[in-house]
Subunit: 310 residues, 2 copies
């Protein structure tokens, strides 16, 4: 998956993806010790599942060149935390497994054009590789991270049929879970409300997570729509890090702290301590990126209200 | 109110409050010609109702010292646009009426402590003044702009009973509409879904608008919740201007362009041209505040998607 939660709709599970999707979008090298400090602070805040690295070519994404070290640190020190890593191919999966990760995220785009642009493969090639990974690593959990589910930068609209087709192809090859990713942040609540019931009907026992971006400010609106559909797992990044190198300044992933704040205000449980979570966010702000897109990172304090004239 | 719309739930009416709530929060003087340019561009984008000025003491809020000139400009040049102005007392209402405004927003806070801090009056004093305004200006539309409805910086939680009490007191004094304001931006979708049906049941024929702030990033989530309750009128500000002088950097009002973008993506009608609206937002960005909190102001273009690696 991300999530294997079978909790009641009142209990929500967050898979924090700060160290993978968030850090990956930062151009300047983040020292490994800073990465580990943020990860440790996130775990101290109560994060129980994290996507922490990409096992990709260091030439393609230098920021992820310490993936093995980061993964080993978390696996060895935090037996209670589920560690997920991204691996785009057999070689990456082998490296990930060697580092001790027990679950990989494998990306295929719902749009064939985006799949080609993003990972330079046809759908057929991606699915063949998925089959090979499943065969070589029968005990590894595989999450299908399906990108561009709610809109494609090249094709525009993505139909539910395209998503369902790819989901079925993944299930035939033995995926353990699926994440539906709004890669470019264009999903709207009506679309979420229309698609998710179809997905749940097609795969009622497959763990499902939603991965939202806040490019157009709709991440929390879509989160709320997904909650109404019974989705209880969300992938989010501290500070709202992430997003897209081609849209400088635009908001990134749904922020972990903004999501947790809304869930708590709605009376839902996450087992995350928001005050401690903001310590991790503050570290990101102080050491990695001062101007974070998340709202709580900008408001002076999550608990500090202001007096507004009129 | 804001809105007197009786349209189907698919047709949404936006009352743009850029020139009042937005500009009022900007410390540096905005030249009158810039104010009028933004207003004209908003009208050119299809805005049909605007709150454009505050008739308050220029000593208290110097930014609003050209309220009469701004109001007269819009009233005289745009007969098709409903012009609302804020007026906190009899004298302000008299000045507003002299300038040609046909509707005033009169603020009372749902919290007595916030009412005292914000406009230095008890609830009783505010309601007595409302009675006097109604008597002196029988033909003027009066919108009760109820602040701190979803949370108070001093009292914390506000109960539905407090809101309903003030609503009834306002209706007894002949208000024409009500805006429910999340002044400090702490409303959550469950709270919206719980309160709005109570308000609609208590005042089924009273036009109702929602005025949201994006302090914690929940403005669009709350908008979506309100849509599900059948609310069709929203008060928003271009660029997400507004907010609070005591929380520098925090997001302000729900941004008109982010709201319109979500509504359009959901297939709803606003009669607003998003491309033209972004011209007004760009003027705000270029002449008033470069770093606007709205999401579309940060994304390079509302229609421009990006290619995101993984």
């Amino acid at each position: 998956m991300p999530c294997s939660c079978t909790a009641s709709p009142e209990a929500i599970r967050i898979t924090d993806i700060t160290a993978r999707d968030g850090f990956q979008s930062v151009k300047e090298w983040i020292p490994t010790e800073i990465k580990l400090r943020v990860i440790d602070e996130l775990i101290a805040a109560g994060i129980k599942k994290m996507e922490i690295a990409s096992f990709v070519s260091p030439k393609a994404i230098p920021q992820m060149s310490d993936a093995a070290e980061v993964t080993a640190h978390v696996v060895n020190n935090n037996p209670g935390v589920d560690v997920v890593v991204l691996a785009p191919n057999l070689r990456g999966v082998q490296d990930a497994a060697n580092s001790g990760a027990s679950e990989i995220s494998y990306i295929i785009s719902a749009s064939s054009k985006h799949n080609r642009a993003n990972i330079n493969r046809t759908h057929e090639e991606s699915l063949d590789d998925l089959s090979a990974i499943r065969e070589r690593f029968p005990d590894l959990k595989i999450n299908l991270s399906m990108s561009a589910v709610f809109g494609c930068p090249f094709d525009g609209e993505i139909t539910p049929q395209q998503v369902l087709w790819l989901l079925h192809e993944g299930m035939k090859r033995g995926i353990d879970s699926v994440s539906l990713c709004d890669t470019i942040g264009v999903a709207n609540p009506r679309q979420v409300m229309a698609l998710l019931p179809e997905i749940k009907a097609a795969a009622p026992s497959l763990p499902l997570a939603l991965h939202l971006h806040d490019t157009h400010g709709m991440a929390l609106a879509n989160t709320y729509a997904a909650l109404q559909c019974g989705v209880t797992c969300f992938e989010t990044a501290g500070g709202g890090l992430g997003g897209c190198p081609f849209a400088p300044g635009a908001a990134g992933n749904a922020a972990t702290e903004d999501t947790v704040n809304m869930l708590h205000r709605m009376g839902m449980q996450t087992e995350i301590d928001l005050g401690k979570l903001l310590i991790a966010v503050n570290t990101i702000k102080q050491t990695i990126m001062h101007d974070l897109p998340s709202h709580l990172a900008k408001a002076r304090s999550y608990s500090e209200f202001c007096f507004c004239r009129f």
